[in-house]
């Protein structure tokens, strides 16, 4: 088992890192099992690739596995071999059952976070001049209508945010509104969660449909205020 020791330690170490160390780094969170599986798969692929680069390393790596599975000269490990040969298919069966059996848990999420906006919104540009007054006014509207959820610091941590899963968007994160054009935000604010198209299902957005309360001009100003307050810029093509 000498040559197998390192790969086994590496796999166990990687699992422990992903499961117990990474989630405890400040600002982090537990990783979903899909991601842990993905990273472990990459690790295992790396091990197989490296260990099979030469004939010697391949024999050193694969030889013990082959001998163990065939029972050739393994002495006192016979009982363990039978154990593995019986338990492994059972484990696969249990996993298969677990992933296909009817469950009372909701299905795994793979919803579309950024569904495409309707065509009529794609060509829009902000008609409100970008002046300090308008930006300030936008921030004022934001403070009144948006900050309870999206936060006074535009970080998605408003006083009401804790009541929502998923959390309200963090505009200060460079991977949210900085990736989108202003017209996209206009559509999302105007139509809210109920205006999401079918590809965005399940519609897990508590965003109100602001078109019933706010005029378009206010929404455009809010967008300007959001970008300015979050220190982000909208996606443009010029």
């Amino acid at each position: 088992m000498g040559a197998l020791g390192k790969p086994i330690i590496l796999m166990v170490g990687m699992y422990a890192f992903l499961k117990f160390v990474l989630p405890n780094i400040p600002g982090s969170a537990p990783l979903p099992s899909s991601l842990i599986f993905l990273y472990l798969l990459l690790t295992a692929s790396g091990i197989v690739i490296f260990e099979t680069l030469s004939g010697e390393s391949k024999d050193a790596f694969w030889g013990p596995i082959q001998r163990f599975l065939t029972g050739e000269n393994i002495g006192g490990l016979q009982a363990l071999r039978y154990g593995v040969l019986i338990l492994f298919p059972l484990l696969v069966g249990w996993q298969t059952y677990g992933s296909t059996a009817v469950s009372d848990l909701p299905p795994t999420e793979s919803r579309t976070i950024h569904p495409a906006p309707p065509g009529e919104y794609t060509g829009l540009s902000n008609p409100v001049p970008k002046t300090p007054e308008n930006i300030m006014q936008g921030k004022g509207f934001y403070a009144a209508y948006c900050s309870p959820c999206h936060g006074g610091n535009f970080d998605g941590k408003g006083p009401a945010a804790r009541g929502y899963i998923p959390s309200p968007a963090n505009f200060a994160d460079p991977t949210t509104i900085a990736m989108l054009q202003e017209s996209y935000l206009f559509w999302r604010i105007k139509k809210g969660g109920v205006g999401l198209p079918i590809e965005g299902a399940p519609w897990k957005s508590a965003m109100p449909r602001w078109e019933v309360e706010l005029p378009d001009e206010w929404i455009w100003k809010i967008i300007m205020g959001e970008y300015d307050g979050a220190h982000q810029s909208p996606r443009t093509w010029e």
């Binding site: 969170a29 690739i49 030469s54 793979s110 994160d173 900085a178 909208p234």
Partner: protein, 618 residues
């Protein structure tokens, strides 16, 4: 009577006559098969006005067109990629005098005649199906592109004539000026092939990003429609992809033959062929992500809705699968290079093992970043712990700045793998070798750091700055590294002493499997991205101009789409295997006949691609 009712009637009739003997069932099924088209025609026959759509039962018109179009495209990629590959090999043999390259070029040109016919066959089937199932759309496209249809026919005539001259004249044009003429014919073959690719690209890209002139002559309208925003990005992307496909398929062919041949000479030949195929595939693969990025950028700029559908909307998961496939391709190609070092160059393993480990770890880290989605697949419980579908720490890896950075790094690593393979078994003797290697090392380190810094910086600048300046700078940096290190290495190796001769035919069987895996990955990638490009139009035949009003005006779920992709990949592999089998049938006969001068048995038809040898025999 509707099509469904009619099919039901047929089924009831079949049940009723079950006891009457199998011959009756067989007869009825045969008659039914010939009457099948009438079902579709009957379905629309009663409606008023011109027919807009026709359908067939069970498989559905959309799925049938999808499969045939995808197969036609894959075959076309093969038929356009192989001549580039073959012509490059011929030029190497012509200028460098290495006859084995000429033999390799001929071996692959032999495939072209049968592959060309099969491609044209699928093209013809596709055309008939499109005209039959989508008459309204085809009428519209014909109206827009009529002049280019004529040009396409002319190009086909020229390509066919050139191909015949190129293949059948191979042996007759081997020496002197005739060889120059033959090389020129090879160039012409590729020249016409390029236009054969870009003309229909205009039709396909027009559907995604149409430019419609309401006035003007037929030529002006066709030209405006042709020069649409995504035409050239697709042309460049497909051209490079065809080289990659051609290279990897040749590699896979060599891999399969390598696994089955017995003689040392054959093992050496197919080992070398596998190396050349993998090299050409990797050579194209290095440039492919840049071309893909440019295409996506143009799509995004053309229409935000289409861009988001692809990159952030319901098709965004395809790009995670794409990352996996490209990752396997990079790993497979590097693995093949590394196996070459450890097996073909005896004694090199100890020297390069640590470097290979570092490259492997770097590749896997890059791949981990590339494969990390922005929105994760998570159960409700897991999502609650993360506060949504974004991981607070790893979520930053899910956006383009990170993806572009790691794809550039993977290209650099793969390039260095090749350089390492190139240098293995050689000792520098040039006086400036130390300085040269120091310069190369410095260029590589500084370039890698610059790519990473730009990637991180990309999070803190407006998207347009990142896309227009940072991403292009990253690409330019990688290009600079390749253009600096390649000539420097070539100069160094010119005076280098060979310490260990390369031993061809010594690769382990897993090298052959790696070559086959690479080819399958490329084919899967093409089917995947074909679906993505086509689906990005959503419910439009011509985006924003002509709506799809058929019952199939919906995007198939990713799961069902993957079934069709898998089928197309499998069927294409079968077709390619058939083409290889047919093309090499003559060789097997020749080998079996010993000297190859025996008389041809009467009644054996001339096999496609077998003519020059047969002519010699005669």
């Amino acid at each position: 009577m509707s099509a469904i009712q009619e099919v039901g009637t047929i089924q009831r009739a079949l049940r009723a006559i079950r006891g009457q003997g199998r011959w009756l069932v067989g007869l009825l099924l045969t008659v039914g098969w010939f009457l099948l088209p009438s079902i579709g025609i009957a379905a629309e026959g009663a409606s008023a006005g011109p027919t807009e759509y026709r359908d067939i039962p069970y498989i559905g018109s959309r799925n049938l067109v999808w499969i045939v179009a995808q197969l036609h495209l894959l075959l076309a990629g093969f038929v356009l990629g192989v001549p580039i590959f073959a012509w490059l090999c011929e030029v190497i043999a012509w200028r460098g005098g290495e006859k084995r390259y000429d033999k390799l070029a001929k071996e692959f040109t032999k495939l072209l005649t049968s592959a060309y016919a099969t491609t044209a066959l699928f093209g013809g089937i596709l055309l008939f199906l499109l005209v039959a199932f989508y008459p309204k759309l085809m009428n519209y496209l014909t109206d827009v592109f009529f002049p280019s249809f004529l040009l396409y026919c002319l190009l086909f005539l020229l390509e066919t004539a050139t191909l015949y001259l190129y293949w059948y004249g191979w042996d007759a044009m081997q020496h002197g000026n005739k060889k120059t003429l033959h090389v020129f014919l090879g160039f012409l073959l590729n020249f016409f092939a390029l236009f054969i690719m870009i003309v229909p690209n205009a039709w396909a890209t027009f559907q995604s990003s149409p430019v419609v002139l309401s006035e003007g002559t037929a030529f002006e309208r066709a030209w405006a429609a042709t020069w649409n925003p995504t035409w050239w990005p697709i042309n460049i992307h497909r051209l490079i992809a065809n080289v990659v496909l051609g290279g990897y398929i040749c590699g896979a062919y060599a891999g399969v033959r390598y696994l089955s041949v017995k003689s040392t000479e054959d093992r050496e030949h197919y080992d070398w062929m596998g190396y050349v195929g993998n090299f050409i595939g990797v050579f194209g693969l290095l440039a492919l992500p840049f071309a893909g990025y440019w295409l996506m950028r143009e799509i995004y700029q053309y229409n935000q809705q289409m861009g988001i559908t692809l990159m952030g909307g319901f098709l965004s998961w395809l790009f995670i699968i794409q990352a996996m496939l490209i990752g396997v391709l990079f790993l497979g190609s590097n693995y093949y290079f590394w196996l070459g070092i450890t097996h073909r160059i005896p004694g090199s393993e100890a020297k390069y093992r640590r470097a290979m480990l570092m490259m492997l770890v770097s590749l896997l880290l890059c791949l981990a970043v590339w494969m990390t989605p922005h929105s994760l697949v998570a159960s409700i419980e897991e999502a609650q712990k993360m506060g949504g579908a974004h991981h607070p720490l790893l979520g930053v890896l899910g956006v383009m700045s990170a993806k572009m950075t790691v794809s550039n790094l993977m290209i650099l690593i793969t390039f260095m793998s090749f350089v390492m393979y190139w240098r293995a078994g050689k000792q520098d003797t040039a006086g400036w070798a130390k300085l040269g290697k120091a310069v190369m090392g410095a260029v590589l380190v500084v370039a890698s750091l610059a790519v990473i810094v730009l990637g991180i910086w990309g999070y803190f600048v407006p998207a347009i700055v990142r896309i227009n300046y940072f991403s292009t700078s990253q690409v330019a940096i990688v290009g600079f590294v390749i253009l600096t290190i390649t000539p420097l290495t070539a100069l160094l190796l010119k005076s280098a002493k060979t310490t260990t001769e390369m031993v061809w035919g010594s690769m382990p069987p897993r090298a052959g499997y790696a070559l086959v895996l690479n080819a399958v990955m490329v084919i899967l990638l093409m089917t995947l991205m074909g679906y993505a490009r086509s689906s990005s139009r959503v419910h439009w035949h011509v985006y924003g101009v002509m709506r799809d009003t058929s019952p199939y005006a919906y995007s198939p779920a990713l799961g069902s789409a993957s079934l069709i992709m898998a089928f197309c990949t499998f069927f294409f592999c079968i077709l390619v295997a058939f083409i290889f089998w047919v093309a090499t049938m003559g060789d097997k006969y020749k080998t079996a006949a010993g000297t190859g001068k025996g008389e041809l048995p009467h009644g054996i038809p001339a096999m496609a691609g077998g003519a020059p040898e047969e002519r010699q025999q005669g």
